[in-house]
Symmetry: C2
Subunit: 450 residues, 2 copies
């Protein structure tokens, strides 16, 4: 990470940014491969929109015009802007965008969106106040087939497992299962049950039991809920068997189990090992109504979920219609931060440049520029040495940045030469025909193994 004077607002040095761009490019590639259209929404929403999601209101950054603030401080009547704040996620803005543009969009509408979001909370370890999210969602007009609840976590599993990081598991559950178990047990405060279970990794089963007791959930009910929360398997038959052992049942539970079964069975066929049912997953947000998703990186479980989401039925609605959807969001900054700090990966160089053309003398700079222009016209990222220093210094310019090749314009009558500064090998070369090894075309991201 770069030095930074504001905590919670991360910035990367050029090498870190190369790693981040690699991640963003790969995510985009996979999303587009699956037919998701890219959109961006403005960073700013009305406070009304943002506050509609009550529980997150503590995290909102409000915008004020400096001029207006100064005028107000001076006692003048400042023209009041409509209350506006920075978005804290990409789901709420997307829902607003869908409603505003419903007549122009084709449903089901599949979109990806990669943008910064802001949360005004106190920065803690690994929590950022400004960070990048990468979301995919699909929304329908009035209805949305269940199969999208299977498709979307698999797209994310593919996207994440294409990155140079350890294996990522998508953990799944279904709100109807949890709710069905609650109903079957006679637990009425389902929200409290969800909130409690959500903390199991933080405060342990006993802590959760104590919390549940405070919400009027008795010891026997809590015991069943906690046993449910310990179910973790990729086999739908095991989920069914263990829930049956708990003696719970009912229509909603059956519906949820049918969906969870379909999700697990299809995922096991299409992408074995990618998806695991984990019945403690609750997801705090109250708009989820069906499948819910979290994820973990093998060996980095303590990092928490880097990709989460679920099915929602009425997040987006206008007077006439609702637009049900399902989506997942990757916390890119937290992931990239871990990739850099672990370190999981390393960039082969700090710049896009593959070749530096040396300059023999300032009066001959245009010769070097002409060579660079030819190389660039062939798609080779090329820089020209900033000054006609001694060749040793020009080679050092390349070496410091990890640029693999230095090109030397030939003396009168002799050919140009190009030097691989890693091996020291130097050969005659013509900029129109020289072949840049494919492995050196762009900076590569290598896994750090030791």
């Amino acid at each position: 990470m770069a030095r930074t004077s504001l905590s919670g607002f991360p910035e990367w040095l050029p090498e870190g940014r190369i790693i981040e761009m690699h991640v963003l490019d790969e995510l985009r590639r996979v999303f587009e491969l699956h037919g998701f259209a890219g959109i961006e929404t403005r960073a700013v929403e009305t406070l009304e929109q943002l506050e509609a999601k009550g529980e997150t209101s503590k995290e909102i950054y409000v915008l004020e015009r400096l001029q207006a603030l100064k005028a107000a401080a001076a006692g003048a009547r400042a023209p009041k802007d409509k209350g506006m704040g920075l978005h804290f996620d990409l789901t709420v803005p997307f829902a607003r965008y869908v409603v505003e543009n419903a007549n122009e969009l084709d449903f089901p509408f599949k979109r990806y969106q990669i943008q910064k979001v802001w949360r005004g909370e106190r920065p803690q370890d690994g929590r950022f106040r400004e960070f990048t999210q990468a979301d995919i969602d699909v929304v329908g007009n009035g209805e949305l087939p269940f199969h999208f609840e299977v498709d979307l976590p698999l797209v994310m599993a593919e996207a994440l497992n294409n990155l140079p990081i350890p294996h990522v598991r998508v953990l799944v559950n279904n709100r109807k299962v949890v709710q069905g178990v609650c109903e079957s047990l006679g637990v009425t405060d389902v929200e409290a049950a969800l909130r409690g279970l959500d903390k199991i990794d933080k405060i342990g089963p006993e802590g959760v039991a104590a919390e549940l007791a405070q919400s009027g959930i008795d010891g026997e009910q809590a015991s069943v809920l906690l046993q449910m929360a310990q179910i973790r398997t990729s086999e739908s038959s095991e989920v069914r068997a263990r829930l049956a052992d708990l003696g719970v049942g009912g229509e909603l539970l059956d519906e949820g189990l049918k969906e969870l079964t379909e999700l697990l069975d299809t995922a096991n066929k299409r992408m074995p090992g990618a998806v695991v049912a984990d019945l403690k997953i609750a997801r705090g947000l109250d708009y989820y109504t069906g499948s819910v998703y979290e994820s973990e990186i093998e060996g980095h479980e303590a990092l928490g979920s880097i990709c989460s989401g679920g099915r929602y039925d009425s997040l987006a609605k206008d007077g006439k219609r609702t637009y049900p959807g399902v989506g997942l969001s990757i916390g890119v900054s937290r992931l990239v931060s871990r990739m850099i700090s672990a370190p999981m990966v390393r960039a082969s160089r700090k710049v896009p440049t593959a070749v530096v053309v040396a300059v023999i003398a300032e009066e001959q700079r245009e010769r070097s520029e002409a060579i660079a222009a030819v190389l660039r016209s062939r798609g080779i990222s090329t820089d020209v040495a900033p000054s006609a220093a001694k060749f040793g210094k020009q080679i050092k310019f390349a070496d410091k940045r990890g640029i693999p090749f230095v090109w030397f314009p030939g003396e009168e009558g002799s050919a140009d030469t190009v030097k691989d500064i890693r091996s020291g090998e130097q050969v005659d070369a013509d900029p129109h025909t020289w072949v840049l090894p494919e492995a050196d075309a762009v900076p590569t991201i290598e896994k750090v193994t030791d």
Copy 2:
């Protein structure tokens, strides 16, 4: 443009976003081809940083935490955040980043940066409150050779002229020329002269003369300045001749003319027609010290400059060192807005998808998914029909989005077929070997000619 409920905060529909992404991808490609490293800075700076550029302070959006505002309104003592605001350009944050990370960066440091910026001004025609800028800058440690003042506008000329828009001219001038002419005339308030000349396109020569008079610049001085401002040519010899005709001279003017000559002569050699000297260009910002740049799109001159910048000597400095630089910034949102609204261009489709695989029946969805997986593994962007509707409806799904191909899984024992829904041609095909025409691989951006 999409419908939007907040004026000045533009959003694009998916087709517009495809055009914007094409522009951003092309800019990035050219910047990286020239060895610029990508960085991002946080969106937030301290007010102290932002206000150091006095003249722009009216445009700053200040951030407050909603919770703190509510606590303050309720009379509680709210913990005061360090004053923070959103950046209004990418130059000021870049200067701060360079100073903070100077020990980690390699100088001269060439970077590009493509990000949103915010200005809290009243939105006017074509003025946005949130918009994307694409900047390139190079900064040195203590010194920066003049040749970068030639290189950078040419990189921008190449980047802009690679886009599907009419020819872009980069207009150049040199602060030392303007200042030298002022000195030669005995004009002491150079700032006033620059501010006046900057308005020549808006208020005309007479309006400028009136403004200059108010700053104590007499009629004769103003007359020479206005004649200077009318010099526009790509030939350095003409600049020199016409300035000589005005009877101005002096050391600073000579130095500026030497630089402007080198810029024009080199540009004419490397990229004929790309660069034109225009001596009325002043650039309001007071940190420029050498070359200054604006630009115009042929046939869209009234849009104003979509790419501007210049040389600065002391924007970035810490206790010990200064980091002189030169850079240019493209107003991407304004450019894209014009490309869409003119319209200059059109996207061949609204989604990345090249193929939709039809679904024969919901029970056979996995067959279609298997075909899609094979196509995707070969890099072909593929979607699967959202429901097993009648084939006519599935074809309409593709047609509405501009997706060129629909893939039909074969009935028992017979081959799959793929249909080009534009021509109606339908042929047998195997997902492992079928060749997607290269022109259909990704959405293409076509110039609108009529």
